[in-house]
């Protein structure tokens, strides 16, 4: 765990109208796809917690942080960062066809993984009902309802979902009778992470097949086998 400073260089709206911030920071601070950083404004004594930041787009010396962000964050602000934290996505070396599924209102947190996959010349398909930014035309966009078919096409599935959606994941994937998905994959599970892995507050518990895991330490990216 390392500490860095980042400067907010610019704000922009994502396609859902929520604010993203461009953080200018040392390359060592950049989170791998699915990892996070904890950030706070050292001048703001009224904030009770740090904010977990996920990348929506990786740059050479910084990244666009996905929403939600504190409304008080403005360009010019210098933030204290620590991280990168947690386990990110790990694409096996033999993956050729990557399916991305964003179950929530934004696909932003999957886009760095798409960036990485395109650099590796994978075929990438995105399944979502969320509004999308302009994406490379090589990414095929599909409605979420087609996700069950994707499991036959893809050889790896990367999902973005909230802790509340974990229970309905099997249904969204079209799985029945407790059978596992036809292709391997991982899921980035978003939960509030107040202690951010500094020790078990237990707030980020994610139900898994046998008991539960902590998003902040054991995740936030989990193998789909956690549930099957």
């Amino acid at each position: 765990m390392h500490a860095y400073q980042a400067r907010i260089g610019e704000l922009r709206l994502d396609p859902a109208g929520q604010v993203q911030a461009r953080l200018d920071c040392p390359p060592a601070a950049l989170p791998a796809p699915g990892q996070y950083l904890l950030a706070y404004d050292p001048q703001d004594a009224s904030a009770a917690l740090a904010t977990p930041l996920f990348a929506a787009e990786l740059l050479a010396d910084g990244f666009w942080a996905a929403a939600p962000l504190p409304p008080a964050w403005q360009p010019g602000l210098v933030l204290a960062l620590r991280g990168p934290l947690g386990k990110g996505f790990a694409l096996p070396g033999d993956v050729r066809r990557l399916a991305l599924a964003a179950l929530g209102g934004s696909a932003a947190r999957l886009l760095p993984l798409a960036q990485q996959a395109l650099r590796q010349d994978l075929s990438v398909a995105l399944f979502t009902a969320a509004a999308l930014p302009r994406l490379p035309s090589s990414i095929e966009i599909n409605p979420l309802g087609m996700l069950p078919e994707a499991l036959a096409w893809a050889d790896f599935l990367a999902v973005d979902l909230s802790v509340e959606q974990v229970e309905s994941l099997a249904g969204v994937l079209g799985l029945q009778g407790g059978l596992p998905p036809a292709c391997p994959g991982q899921a980035l599970v978003s939960a509030a992470m107040p202690c951010g892995g500094s020790g078990g507050c237990g707030a980020c518990a994610i139900p898994v097949r046998r008991g539960w895991k902590l998003a902040c330490q054991d995740g936030p990216v989990f193998d789909l086998r956690a549930w099957w």
Binding site: Y40, P194, S198, G200, G202, A205, G211
Partner: protein
Amino acid sequence: MSKYDLVFANPLMNAAGTLGFAPASHDAQALSGLGAFVTDPLSLGMRTPAHGPHCLPYPGGFLLHTGYPNPGLNTALRRHAARWARASQPVIVHLLVQKVEDLSWMLPRLERLEGLGGLEVGLPPEVDASAAVAFTRAAAGELPVIVRLPFEQAVQLAPAVVDAGAAAVSLSPPRGTLLVANKSGSPHLVEGRLYGPSVYPLALAAVRAITARGLPVIGAGGIYTVEQARAMLASGALAVQLDGIIWKEGLQIWNCWKSMLA
């Protein structure tokens, strides 16, 4: 070591439930500023996480509702006792007790460990004075005992609990109830513990009311600055327990605050 010997290297502690079950070895340098390490709450049997939303922000703070998940004392001893013994600061084991009899199972297992700094026994919010005394008596043995009182009743229960043998009292986070907007529209209620800077004025008043009665207290609640820690110590607290600020600013605060308090 008698039950009155609460020894801290310095007056900075973490609150139970903030830093896990044992000091992580890769954090040893950062944690060297810590006067004592308090474990996450441990119950006799295992507890699974609470259902529903676990962390709800509100202006000036946030509510946590976790159910204090833990593997139970026996599993925790197997996993963590060696690290407690190796720790460079006193370790205080926090016990989440369900019944007074729980303590007669828990105490012998803890008293035979090497080098524990003490115990902290967390009482339930609905405890009354006679139950608080019974928990304290059952916990008082070879290790010094801190009794963590429900915030709402702390001033009132402190005298009886110290009289019953507690080396000091400490304060649980206050409990509160918040509204959460449902997807369906109608909000539902969530109960939990309250953290954040808005807790500090309540906590400082409660600590001062207890020290005004001449009782030993470890202060806690919404401490987010060194000045706030210093004011609680100047008000007579033996030590202070930090919570949200550790999560916000990370482990770097221990050495930094320690040197500012020196």
